[in-house]
Amino acid sequence: MKVADILKAKGSAVTTVRPDETALELSEKLRAERIGAAIVSADGTTVDGIISERDLAYGLAAHASRLPTVLVDRLMTKVVVVCSPNDSINDVMGVMTRERIRHLPVKSDGDLVGIISIGDVLKHRLSEVQLEADVLRDYARIQR
């Protein structure tokens, strides 16, 4: 099972936010799209950073009443860990666990082709588990 399989199911749509948008605007976008993170991009294609609910929570601790007007640029993670469509789900699980991150942009030949979350990974792992169980059940039935 590869990252490409997850993207096939969920599509390659990526929600972006500009570095000069405010934390308030970002929060509205996250809420409307029911997502936990957005790619930060000045031109809609380059990855300048990534920003998540966690950055908003930590931003609240750091900026308190100023948070609504703080710019995305000041809250985002600039060094972004990415993955490739050919990476295995196991590799991605390893990266998410080690780096304690829940979202990985997917890049192919330098182009942004999607984003996968820890929720996507779990969902796919679950369908694999169910498939394995079905196969075992069928096998058991044949043996009888």
């Binding site: 929060s27 966690r54 609240l60 601790a61 009443s65 609504p68 304690r100 929720g119």
Partner: protein, 138 residues
């Protein structure tokens, strides 16, 4: 061997971080940052499960309440109807719950007693070690 919530708690310990319902949202955000976690159990007395509150509640709270968020209490933003699991639940069971309900943290109750909390990160980690172990056995 079926991996259970109890296996996860054995590794991470019977611990959970709590916040009081009357603390402010800013105090809660500071706790998250200090502890490097994503959610906390809300309790007025240290043992009753009054609710759960996460990073997501801050993000959604900001979108809903804008600058008014700053003066709000944990009790106003927390999730009051809390989905819980038990130590005997399998990892597959809680993967299902987390996926279907789109939640990332489940308090663990043993009977009436709160004994821990498992996150989506813990589940993925457990899965990974489980697979490594079975790979070695094979």
């Amino acid at each position: 061997m079926v991996m259970t919530v109890a296996n996860i708690l054995k590794v991470k310990g019977l611990v959970y971080k709590t916040v009081r319902p009357d603390e402010t949202v800013v105090e809660f955000a500071q706790h998250l940052k200090d502890e490097r976690i994503g959610a906390m159990i809300v309790t007025h007395d240290g043992s009753a499960l009054d609710g759960i509150i996460s990073e997501r509640d801050i993000a959604i709270g900001l979108a809903k309440h804008a600058e008014k968020l700053l003066g709000m209490k944990v009790s106003e933003l927390m999730t009051k109807v809390v989905v819980v699991c038990s130590p005997e639940d399998s990892i597959d069971d809680i993967m299902n719950i987390m996926t279907q309900r789109r939640i990332r943290h489940l308090p663990v109750k043993d009977g009436d007693k709160l004994v821990g909390i498992v996150s989506i990160g813990d589940v993925v980690k457990a899965h990974l070690t489980g697979r490594l172990m079975s790979a070695r056995i094979v």
